[in-house]
Symmetry: C2
Subunit: 382 residues, 2 copies
Amino acid sequence: MNTQPTSPCFSFDLTARDRRARAGIFHTPHGDIQTPVFAPVGTQATVKSLTPAQLAELHASLILSNTYHLYLRPGDELVAEMGGLHRFMNWDRPILTDSGGYQVFSLEDSRKIDDDGVTFKSHVDGSIHRFTPEKSIAIQENLGADIIMAFDECASPYDREYSIKAMQRTHAWAERCLQAKHRPEQALFGIIQGGIFPDLRQESARYIGSLGFPGHAIGGLSVGETKAEMHSMLELVDTLLPDDRPRYLMGVGTPEDLINGVLRGVDIFDCVLPTRLARHNAALTRQNRMNLVNAAYAHDPRPIDEQCACYTCQNFSRAYLRHLITAKEMLAATLLSIHNLYTLINLTQGLRQAILEHNLEQFVTDFLQQRQLKPQEGEPEA
Amino acid sequence: MNTQPTSPCFSFDLTARDRRARAGIFHTPHGDIQTPVFAPVGTQATVKSLTPAQLAELHASLILSNTYHLYLRPGDELVAEMGGLHRFMNWDRPILTDSGGYQVFSLEDSRKIDDDGVTFKSHVDGSIHRFTPEKSIAIQENLGADIIMAFDECASPYDREYSIKAMQRTHAWAERCLQAKHRPEQALFGIIQGGIFPDLRQESARYIGSLGFPGHAIGGLSVGETKAEMHSMLELVDTLLPDDRPRYLMGVGTPEDLINGVLRGVDIFDCVLPTRLARHNAALTRQNRMNLVNAAYAHDPRPIDEQCACYTCQNFSRAYLRHLITAKEMLAATLLSIHNLYTLINLTQGLRQAILEHNLEQFVTDFLQQRQLKPQEGEPEA
């Protein structure tokens, strides 16, 4: 439909819409990202238990890596010396790095925030470090991801006073990040905060949306608020953010979250859920979740999901997966990660196709029928 | 050269010789095994940290799995119910199972041997079990590997009295295994014992060699004797075993062991070494070994081995591998296992090619020159 180049190296084509949902293509120096897209998380420059070849077979087009972790180990300067993150981890498709802010603010007892930045203690060796907006950008420039994130502060979602303060800092820091950034082959995304407060979210979306970022992230959601609150915040910012730039809902999520995000105009998602569940022996299924350690599966010759086309479901039984788990074999995590990532990547591809075919409502109805869940209900834990 | 069908389902073609070394093809119901061959070990129905797809990419043609472990967990009957080991672990090429004897005899404090069999305590849950030759065959028939092994007793190599006793039991048990076996699509290999005693080894090779097995294994080596003693035992049995059947040197070994075995007429090898070293951060190299945890590699952009064509060496630096190890990422074991298995599989393929081209002496000289080691010297530990 419309092409809006946002930098010589990046542009976003909004290909189709179905109500508020969008199908697009984000062009990056390491290839196109067809949206909606789910990005597997490779915290320490590896999506846990998978080779890049296995990720490519899963049709992963974008992966996320964490600035905080890579800064501490092996160090962003080492990564730069090795040719950048793409070369270091052997991933030649797009990469996104977060700003490090979220991880640092999560270190509740060992960090101190001020208006200029945050001082914190390393979880690796207890050493003291300091992140500022400028430092976060410098690290992310060393890492060299295609998409980099502004340094922001994520408040506790129900604390209005803290949400105001965190939003103000986030806005000031967003401008400092824009100033600090200088590599044209990286797209810097601004981040919206504001907790669950409509007026703050609106203010933040308007402000961040006015700064000319080539993409926008919605932060501070999926951090303790209800699903209904998350959805209402998404609906608010959807109408305020520039339409011609991709929107990224950070750290989300479950299959239901992806669907509900897409229905509210979100283009990009990431979450540790699929690989973390895998390491806890759980598979995402069309019905919900399945914990393969369950003795009920000991003699079960069926795959996790008979309709799933992933490598794991095409080749291995529940009985075999349960055996691997019981025998503490590493292959269990690999095979479950393949299935879980396939499930979310395949879901976003299905959503994209449905948007292109103006068939989203039916797609969502079919999906929810299989789950026997209604759209906005919370998802029971496995 | 000569084809000697040993069962409707198996035959061994001895394609070429170079002095005592042999190049052959062992035809099995799950495909051909080109010898000399190195078999990766998949103790618990998985070669640790690798998918069958990754093993196939490594051109593994035969893998070994352990009867003792599978009997205890998940149970051979469950494996049979799931369609056998090939289907269970999704490996459609040849599989070899050991008899369970070696593992049971290694449980020194929790097993009791008599002339009929051995009673032992499970390492999983302490329960009491009994293996006899008939039981071992019944379990291996449930598992359904292409090559199965006679139930034997492996003595301490320098204990002559025990070596005599163990050899006599091994011979009696070999006949009981032949009697007990009834699946034609499995080839039962006899096992030679006799410690480091030339007269016992000769007696065992003659006796086991006379029973009509379609293949022969040399047991009780690489269990504490010197390399020179192992080589001299191999030379003895080489001249006594039927020439037209494959010979399998159990639980061996290092690159030097493979070369020294091939030079003495061995066709098949297996060893946990490559995958176990990988889980201890060590890589097999042309020079010897390299422990990637070493700080010297922190900034090293080179692959493990610049001349190696494996997936790991084609795509990842020493610095990245060291980072994965330091960050305790599972991918380290996967990438090192790929490299180490490739090294041994590639070595046996090189040996085979050299035999076919009557160029073995040069191949071995070149190999040893790179290592700056002489053929019969022991290999320093990493």
